[in-house]
Symmetry: C2
Subunit: 144 residues, 2 copies
DNA sequence: TTGATCTACCGAATCTCATTCTGCATAGTA
DNA sequence: TACTATGCAGAATGAGATTCGGTAGATCAA
């Protein structure tokens, strides 16, 4: 992981469809050498995958909320329960008064309510506190 | 936006490096027709960009925290102030007692503290409440 | 210092795939 | 019915991914 690798990651985060020749030119390498570096970044797991960024609003997921989940028992192994709710985009175990923090996307607040209901149904969950997002300033990749 | 488009989005979210011929086979279209559909999805902004997913821990961003930001004034137009802090990965205006919610990634809790200091320095910010993530169950793309 | 080994690179060859184009079929519309 | 727009298949073409051989530099041990 030297500086060239970091530059490549930045460039690929911006546009992963850029040809290796162009990438290489940007960092001062040949296409072949660039390809080899990117291959190793994948191999090491630094690059998890190549993906497309979908506009949530364009696919009917205009409502965004963060939900603090309180629990009366250990939540460390109920990741699957959260994962089973497709509207949950992220789920984290947190330090502090609540036990988990999840990020939820739905098309309506009605559906958000339904998601909260399903979260309540998880064993040990004793309460939720939902925070609705009014406007998203930005969401961007990990900064290098 | 029919069902085939949605299938294509799912497949591309999983692996955007898949050839159009393979995509097409999966949804029952030719490579050319698949290409055309994906082109239009980009054109309409449904697909924002093609990118790589980087493992935060692998690039020294092992600390994740969510920060509730309280403000004494309207925060609706201070998006740039948050954006200027590179450790902030997301920033949202929220309903509720706090005014904004930001997602922060740093390499150490020391640096997290420094980010909090810089958030305080934003005009109108009167308080922060940081929640440190102990474990991330999952982070996944928008569910279709 | 010398030799062996390993790594990273370049440049070229090859082969896959993206992209474009033609023609056809279907659906919608005047 | 005639016209128009849209979406598709299939093929042609060129761009780019991927592989490979060979070289330079770095590291390490003798």
């Amino acid at each position: 992981m030297d500086d060239i690798d970091r530059q490549l990651l930045v460039l690929l985060q911006q546009d992963a469809s850029r040809p290796y020749a162009a990438l290489g030119e940007a960092v001062g390498l040949s296409a072949g050498a660039t390809h080899e570096r990117v291959r190793k970044l994948r191999e090491r797991g630094v690059i998890r995958r190549t993906t497309v960024e979908v506009d949530p609003a364009a696919v009917g997921q205009g409502v965004l909320a963060f939900v603090m989940v309180e629990s009366t028992r250990w939540v460390g192994d109920s990741g699957d329960r959260f994962s089973a709710i497709p509207e949950i985009q992220e789920a984290h175990v947190i330090a502090g008064s609540a036990s988990a923090l999840v990020k939820v996307r739905t098309s309506t607040t009605q559906q958000l309510q339904d998601v909260l209901r399903r979260i309540y149904a998880i064993d040990g969950v004793s309460g939720t506190q939902a925070t609705v997002v009014l406007e998203t300033f930005f969401e961007r990749p990990v900064t290098l």
